[in-house]
Symmetry: C2
Subunit: 352 residues, 2 copies
DNA sequence: CTGAAAGCGCTTACAG
DNA sequence: CTGAAAGCGCTTACAG
């Protein structure tokens, strides 16, 4: 057990000054003679003084705690956003109170009340993603509220989301730059997916191209759909030399089906996915799949940083902010396909 | 913006009693006439009173904040433990201050000081796992400290870890119960892996068996090693009808190599892995791989619950506590292998 | 059963 | 340049 904590009063007593003076010096405020300042600083250091954060909070009316409402932590993407945010808050000495609303409006209300009772300095809402706008809760708080991942229903709220249109454009441009001209598109119908499709079409149109087969193919977020759609493309006799897939799992299904049909990746067909799902495990050198990383951790980090700025009274933007996506190059669009003949187990290793 | 917060004093003024009385009633303490009690309760409810948690903290000397030091959050397994712990704390209305030590002793020291300044009510340490004991920091705090995932160097500290020996026993027993008698073992050399090997040997010995090929094969935690070791077993002509693999990725390598060699899983060779790495995505019905889940989230939850108990003054155990692992049945040990002929893309889907 | 008072450990005008 | 005092909003002995 450590000894009882040292207080301002202890230091004041030792140095022979008032608590106010000690407080001022320690906060680097006010005019204080160099001599007493030095003495106070030295004593504080010697006694290993650390101000009681609770007392500071009460006196200042700031808790140094940030409330975080996550609509559903079990959603893996939400938890990545959360992790990005938490590291920023920790870096700014802000504690976090994280509540998982489990997609329940009742819980959401309960947690809002709890955060109010804690007098949090700010609130971060991490919703389920860009698909469904999150009902604004900003008017429930006297402190700044920032939304991450999904946007708020109130357009004047500050929200940070992925830039899905840019994702589509990035994928399309990468394939075009690799010399592909017949680009198919297998994806899903969800909001973000639609925006990515828009982006793809923008890039294609600029290059005077259109989607191979005439239209995007939409289905579920799974490998089965990727395989089925690819089979359909093959059966219909659509000519294509690339596929942009709405996510990595669809891309894998496409990959497997092409493999089974004797089409080589990337020689015959290049593939770009989305999510960078295997980022934790794959090394950049050995990636199978070229993919787009929407930088979800950075979405959380940017939102958290904006909240921290707001607490400091700095200017912050309002409205919807988007975070840039990154292209993560892999062998599925490589120009040198020699490296590409790997055994199944290597594929598995890369993907897990 | 919400109106300024209601305080004890407001309620006292409205009801016409002292703040002390209001405080007592609201905490359900002391003898107070039924009438004033009712009036106070009604008023508090009507004014939507919520006690300022900061003021309570200062007055009570308890912050209602738990400090969490994670040795390395980027370690995926640590973050699972963390998630399990956080949900328990949130359920007990405890805020958390999470610091990522990034395996740096300097940061660890800095974060300990910050937690002290916050006057946290308790500390949870999430270390890198059972392999390396974590240098005890309990004597740096006047509040309870609990260790999760890895154990503390001080045997009297309360630590929650996986029960690796039980994992090995569980895997071995499951294979034996499935009628397998020639069980090979491909794993790594790390501490937890060794304990799992011990458990496997215990189960085998009880059944009068020994490891096929004479000894466990140890290498790296990757599919390549699983494939290489399996190839070696085949080349050496070792007879085996099952493999217990140290983790799921090794198991996949083994699976792929067996497949390539024309050995059917599970008919010819059953496989059990460890980690339940794909839990987020796989449905129980469609799992490819039988695996052992060390229940890491529960390790975090149990540790957090113990800390909460300690704060309440309840009896808590001391020393090393282990958390039960679970067998997650999959097709790689299924008795009805009919369901087992699936296309590659389904395999991929299951695994991702 | 109830109230006045001190205290938690800081911060912050206000005097001097 | 420095100190005395009030205050943040609760809790908690201590009287009555």
């Amino acid at each position: 057990m450590s000894p009882p904590a040292v207080t301002l009063r202890d230091i004041a007593a030792v140095v022979g000054v008032s608590e106010s003076t000690v407080s001022r010096v320690l906060r680097g405020e006010g005019k204080v003679s160099a001599q007493t300042r030095a003495k106070i600083l030295e004593t504080a250091d010697r006694l290993d003084f650390r101000p009681n954060a609770l007392a500071q909070s009460l006196a200042r009316g700031q808790s140094q705690i940030i409330g975080i409402i996550v609509e559903d932590v079990s959603e893996i993407f939400s938890s990545i956003v959360l992790r990005g945010a938490e590291s920023v808050f920790a870096g700014s000495d802000l504690a976090t109170l994280v509540y998982d609303a489990q997609s329940s409006p009742d819980k959401r209300g309960e947690f809002i009340r709890k955060l109010q009772a804690r007098h949090v300095d700010g609130v971060l809402v991490i919703s389920r993603g860009p698909a469904d706008p999150y009902p604004s809760i900003s008017d429930r708080f006297r402190v700044p509220v920032v939304y991450a991942f999904g946007r708020s229903t109130d357009a004047s709220d500050l929200s940070f989301t992925p830039d899905d249109v840019a994702v589509g454009r990035l994928a399309g441009q990468h394939l075009i730059d690799s010399g592909r001209t017949r680009i198919a598109h297998i994806t899903a119908t969800e909001y973000g997916a639609q925006r990515r499709t828009e982006g793809l079409i923008e890039a294609l149109t600029e290059a005077g191209l259109e989607i191979a087969g005439g239209a995007p193919m939409t289905g579920g977020w799974n490998a089965r759909w990727g395989a089925a759609a690819t089979a359909e493309l093959l059966e219909r006799g659509v000519e294509f030399d690339a596929i942009f897939c709405g996510n990595d799992v669809i891309a894998l299904g496409a990959f497997a089906r092409l493999h089974a049909a004797g089409r080589r990746v990337p020689e015959d067909v290049a593939i770009v996915g989305h999510d960078h799902f295997s980022r934790e495990r794959a090394t950049e050198e050995s990636r199978l799949l070229t993919t787009i990383d929407p930088n979800r951790a950075e979405i959380g980090a940017r939102a958290a940083a904006a909240l921290v700025d707001a607490l400091k009274g700095a200017e912050t933007p309002t409205g919807l902010q988007t975070v840039e996506a990154s292209l993560v190059p892999g062998m599925s669009t490589a120009s040198d396909p020699d490296e590409f003949d790997r055994a199944t187990y290597e594929l598995l290793e890369l993907l897990l």
